[in-house]
Symmetry: C3
Subunit: 355 residues, 3 copies
């Protein structure tokens, strides 16, 4: 299948009716936390009851960010004149005067899953926690979880998504880490799904990559897989692993089967900045955190290589705005993902116009 | 009295027919000094005769700032080709050629008082040194003067004025330094005066604040006062102190009466930057400079707290330009002061139109 | 001759049909090099065959700068997906797919002379290496060459040219290094030439400057000369030296004659930034590199003084855009040079319109 689409410049708007990761759960302690998400300034805080709340990060009196104030019980108190707002965005205290002012601030639905705080940026009435991404293996016995970093990239989130739909860049951007000469000619296929785009590269009966050799117990040839699951709007799961050649596949068991889910939760900060919070889940040495950290260290090198490329691409895309880009076969997955994003954006625009 | 005014965004122009502090007098030694005031670049220099002069900081030949040059007698010589300008802004020397070029630069009236250089930014014909602010106690025996810093704040000067008309912020912005729980319910009054706005908070018969306890000799209850004198366009005097309860008031003597004038001379640098040169004058331990320095150190902590708040407010005010702000009772003083500023600005605009 | 021209703000366009210095030749080793020249991003690389090539620094696929990639033989390979471009700008490799994409990038003629890489920024058909500036003495026996630095100045290149047409600034900008009180009244003459403007100041029968005293063998009076050869668009050669008084001139020999060519090769980076690569060639102690380095050290001090002035002038020129500048007699050389630049620019505009 050849879509024939050329990637245009990254779009200038965000999908709003979606759950995004706002922060790691452990970042929210006794102090309020300021975060910019989809170019909006948001304050998050954890009440005395342990629940997380979120509101726009501005006091309606003098516009001091409420994140400069303090948590008061389950509420938030402004640091300039002590106005107090609750989790519904209502002003519930005004210690410098006798009557409450008539004012309210915007609140955002929030929810915790997988040690992350998820925030709903659209119409609160449509927020459904069941729609939050979940990886079943994250919660299962026999799987080890390792948390990575919050990678701060000065690039539009769709440039990161392009990259995470594209196995072919690996040999050029990561020649010394993830690259595998055997893969260069392995065919890449992709599939349109209800949740996004699945891109796959299978390399059966090949020499194990450095990664597989160091973490598996293979001394002979292996069947390997890389499956890039790109969920709208911005969750990427890379499922990769290996079994002894001919004994299984990515769906099934097999001799010395090792499998990793490399997970990227990308939050658009502005049109040209994205925070990619990443973690990974593995089916081997699941009780040994040092193994998780070894894998993270390899990823850190590779993700820094991606970051350099993506930031340079963003800079040039801005410089050459409107300039025609040539298309290559490898753009098909990313092109399909962007089509889906545009379709959702168009839906949101039409729904808003109909209101 | 309830004015019902809401504070709008800080205005986009400055009062010109007024004296502003340009620099500390001791900053002007043998080299010319560049200062930006009301968004204008100005060069100040002290001639051989000890007198300070000021002119626009640009050579009309190649636009090199004259502050890059050198003082020559009572005049100023450009550092590129040696043109010489006197304190009236006239070109009086051109060593690279035979005839003087026909050119003049703008000069500004300047005057020294209270170890500061004051500059008149408007029509030179209207400059009257008698209008320069003066604190009589500054010059009197029995009073000790301590010079503070030039606090550089990335905020419009009116945001600083708001703050200096507003005793209620103290308990939220300075809880650990200047705050006083007894004050929370003390009534704040204010008064429209010929020179600006006077805001007052009296706390009779209360426990001494930490400040009073450490610098006075009170072990019992005291009468305390805070009087915020906000002069147009941008001089603030905070008169505060205490006497033994029932023995006096801010006007009169009394047992162990201590009094401090905390003085702020605010110079608008640009629409979003202000330099606040501050000093204080006290009626106790007037001969011991270490006491002045102790007080300054307490102020430094508090002013840094204000600076953080005011810069954040400026940033958000810029971000949310045009957005409605809710009003609180505590805004009355600041609202009145801003009304007076606007009235003066309107007067200057009308006078200019009539020319 | 008095031209009566006033220097306007530096023009907002560059001469394109000209050779500019792109980099020192030794900077080009095994890695591609990114350079901005006339506001265009250019990648330079040296192929396996030792030849330098240049192209626009952007891959037409995703706009990654090709300078982020690697040299492959005589070609350049993109660091994102491996596209390969040759020195003619043609795509000659695409390892992630079966067929070559149909795309080409702009290439630039380049040529090496005097240990520098020269680039032609205009119509490639008009590029003639014979037009590249050459100093015969650079290649001759008995002359010593010393390479200086790449001085990075935040100013339009014409501000540097003004400075290099103007002997009168020396006594004000460089009073402690190059200045010479005897010169103040020496007449400056200038001449319109086919290649630019020649400005001359001769100081016969005067005390030797510090420079002459330290590098020559003169204990008596000398004849000195300074000849500023300013070539369009941006090569400056300052020919200066001395002989024993009455024994010769700048053209001829004479007792203990010393002569230096101080050469500036200025490359406009943007409208407000210029890189000035400088070197010098001398007729004395030509085999002793430490003498060259001593001279360079004196120049470094002086050029840093110029840089400070020129950057301040650029900043003020931008601030006061459109403001009238007064003219002085000393502007005649620079004014003539700018007239010539404008004439060439107009010619290029007319030629383009005629196409």
């Amino acid at each position: 299948m050849r879509l024939g689409v050329h990637l245009k410049d990254s779009g200038m708007s965000f999908i709003r009716n979606a759950w995004y990761v706002a922060t790691w759960a452990h970042e929210l302690k006794e102090k309020p936390l300021s975060q910019t998400i989809l170019s909006e300034n948001i304050v998050l805080w954890r009440g005395q009851d342990g629940r997380v709340r979120a509101a726009e990060d501005v006091c309606p009196h003098r516009f001091l960010p409420l994140s400069k104030g303090r948590v008061a019980g389950n509420d938030l108190q402004c640091g300039y004149h002590g106005l107090i707002f609750n989790g519904a965005g209502e002003c519930v205290g005004a210690p410098t005067q006798e009557t409450l002012p008539d004012c309210k601030i915007r609140q955002y639905p929030v929810y915790e899953n997988m040690e992350m705080v998820w925030i709903w940026m659209g119409d609160p009435a449509q927020a459904n926690p069941d729609d939050i991404y979940d990886l079943p293996e994250y919660h299962q016995d026999g799987w080890g979880v390792a948390f990575g970093d919050a990678l701060d990239v000065e690039a539009n989130y769709l440039l990161l998504c392009d990259n995470l739909c594209d196995p072919t860049h690996v040999n050029y951007v990561h020649p010394s880490t993830l690259g595998n000469p055997d893969e260069i000619n392995a065919p890449v296929t992709h599939e349109d799904t209800s949740w996004g785009v699945l891109t796959e590269r299978l390399t059966p009966d090949s020499a194990p990559t450095g990664f597989v050799a160091s973490f598996g117990s293979h001394d002979g040839r292996v069947d390997m897989w890389q499956r890039y699951l790109m969920y709208t709007p911005s969750v990427s799961i890379i499922d990769f692993g290996a079994t002894a050649a001919g004994t299984g596949s990515w769906q099934e068991g097999g001799d010395g089967r090792i499998q990793v889910y490399s997970c990227h939760f990308m939050t658009p900060i502005t049109e040209t900045r994205t925070i990619d919070r990443w973690l990974h889940v593995r089916n081997f040495e699941s009780e040994d955190p040092s193994v998780g950290e070894q894998i993270s260290d390899q990823f850190r090198i590779a993700f820094a290589e991606d970051k350099e490329i993506l930031q340079a691409v963003q800079e040039e895309e801005t410089r050459h705005e409107g300039r025609f880009k040539i298309g290559l076969d490898l753009d098909e997955s990313a092109g399909l993902f962007r089509l889906k994003i545009n379709r959702i954006l168009r839906g949101e625009t039409l729904a808003q116009a109909a209101e």
